[in-house]
């Protein structure tokens, strides 16, 4: 397809925010532009001054946002997948001998694939904990733990069901039992308050391009005990250049090479935007949008909703007699409503809820309006009615 200028495009409703939020706040776009207008500045890497040291200010903003003490324990990566790879492979390498790890059926492939790859290489044995009532409980985790369990990785918020796991009691139990706990917070960060000073996680992973309103290519993790993860990337840090080994100091221990300055600038501006609005206000609005949308959806015959009380602004459903990809295509092309269809990179959840066929996912952000929710529900109603009528007429012809 040829490029269509912005002012010539058909207006659309964007409901794929659980993948990447859109639009971005104007402050974010302006910060990225400002970052690129100036030479980059980071201590140790340049003699220049006067520009913003984005990695440092963004790290401090993240520490404040997550109520964590040590800004240097926040590491920037390309995205949550990159962070999970670094943590999982680094933990396995550091442990040095085979052990048992636990993941859950709610997890994304960003967790499942790195763990499966370690399992295939014989470095770990892996158990998948099932979910009940859309959540993974501490009891289910306890049941899966063996004497040789060293690692638990689980999603904080399901990208399909919109359910949020109660990670605090799980983190406390695992800490007591000396089991490292990695939480994938890609779906919860920026939607609900997260207080890392109160939850003893081993590591907490976030992404920048979803509800933190950063641009794609941003993410990272917080780590409480950096020495539990082996250093798997080496290179320039702007410090200790005489030594040929990677510095142990944070954040250079895990950050190497030129940082993604414009991306980190966008993350910094996204955090400022959230703080200006107020996370509580954002959470309230998103929950109201979600509740209203679910209410409208429930009134449409032939709709199966997989969690009708999600905590996150994520609603997954199927329409009777129409494949989810077809429904998504129709919504996009005939109604200009952008959703996400298929397995959402979470195959085990779908295996449980829809037999692995996939579904349609609608996900909201601060920038969606109640009118957009209603227009989307109206469009889904038309699609459902049309699919139903077609099936009835086919049956009548037989």
């Amino acid at each position: 397809m040829d490029y269509i200028p912005e002012d010539k495009r058909t207006p659309f409703i964007y409901l794929n925010n659980a993948a990447t939020t859109w639009p971005k706040p104007s402050q974010v776009l302006e910060e990225v532009a400002a970052c690129l207008r100036n030479p980059v500045h980071e201590a140790g890497r340049t003699t220049g001054s006067g520009s913003t040291d984005y990695p440092s200010v963004a790290r401090e903003s993240l520490a404040s946002f997550f109520h964590a003490d040590l800004p240097e324990n926040f590491i920037f990566t390309q995205n949550a997948t990159d962070a999970l790879n670094l943590l999982i492979h680094g933990f396995v390498k550091k442990t040095g001998k085979p052990f048992h790890a636990i993941a859950t059926e709610l997890d994304h492939n960003s967790v499942l694939r790195p763990l499966s790859s370690q399992e295939q290489d014989g470095r770990i044995s892996l158990s998948m904990v099932p979910f009940t009532d859309n959540k993974v409980s501490l009891a289910a985790i306890k049941e899966a733990i063996r004497s040789e369990t060293r690692l638990v990785v689980m999603t904080h918020g399901s990208n399909v069901l919109g359910s949020v796991q109660e990670i605090k009691p799980i983190a406390e139990y695992l800490r007591t039992n000396d089991i490292f706990f990695i939480v994938d917070g890609a779906q919860t960060t920026g939607h609900i308050p997260i207080n890392l000073s109160d939850i003893p996680v081993g590591a907490f992973v976030f992404t920048g391009h979803k509800a933190l309103f950063g641009i794609p290519g941003t993410g990272g993790f917080y780590i409480s005990e950096p020495e539990t993860i082996a250093i798997t990337r080496q290179g320039g840090t702007g410090t200790d250049s005489r030594t040929l080994t990677q510095p142990f100091e944070m954040p250079m221990r895990f950050e190497t090479g030129t940082p993604n300055y414009p991306g980190i600038a966008s993350l910094y501006a996204g955090l400022r935007f959230i703080n200006t609005i107020g996370l509580d206000k954002i959470e309230l609005k998103e929950q109201e949008l979600t509740r209203n949308f679910v209410r409208e959806l429930k009134q449409i015959p032939g709709i199966t909703i997989y969690n009708d009380a999600p905590t996150l602004p994520v609603v997954s459903f199927n329409i009777r007699c129409i494949d989810n990809h077809e429904a998504g295509f129709i919504l996009a092309r005939a109604y200009s409503i952008i959703t996400r269809t298929g397995l959402h990179c979470s195959p085990l959840v779908h295996e449980r809820i829809d037999g692995g066929k996939g579904c349609i996912r609608v996900s909201f952000s601060w920038f969606n309006s109640p009118e957009e929710c209603s227009r989307t529900a109206d469009a889904i109603r038309e699609v459902a009615q049309s699919a139903d009528t077609q099936v009835r007429s086919d049956q009548g012809m037989r």
């Binding site: 397809m1 077809e326 092309r333 005939a334 109604y335 699919a387 009528t389 077609q390």
Partner: protein, 110 residues
């Protein structure tokens, strides 16, 4: 998956032609009438009647053999009734190649 921008909008006549070769599904009560075409082992097509953009997915197993199938549909549609017979002949030849690849005896490929 490939998206094609056609020279002219798709018509119901084209859908009637497609019915000769696979399963056509039409949802008429939408803002735009939606259709899908499914041909096992070959391709699936999605689009809207009156629209000139279609989405075509080729079946993975035989992608190299069916890569031109959508173009064949367009080409033979222009030939009317005669085109149907010609295209069925072409299909048989593609199916024979599929069978050879699968090591199957001649007959229906299902």
């Amino acid at each position: 998956m490939k998206e094609y921008a056609l020279n002219e909008p798709l018509t119901e006549g084209f859908l009637k032609f497609l019915e000769q070769f696979g399963t056509v599904r039409l949802l008429e009560q939408l803002r735009k009438p939606y259709f899908s075409f499914e041909k096992e082992q070959f391709i699936s097509i999605k689009g809207f009647v009156g629209d000139s953009i279609v989405e075509v997915r080729y079946k993975k197993e035989f992608q190299d053999l069916v890569a031109d199938y959508f173009h064949l549909l367009l080409y033979y549609y222009d030939q009317g009734e005669q085109g149907i017979a010609h295209l069925k002949g072409q299909e048989d030849s593609i199916r024979d190649k599929m069978k050879i690849r699968l090591g199957l005896p001649k007959g229906n490929l299902t």
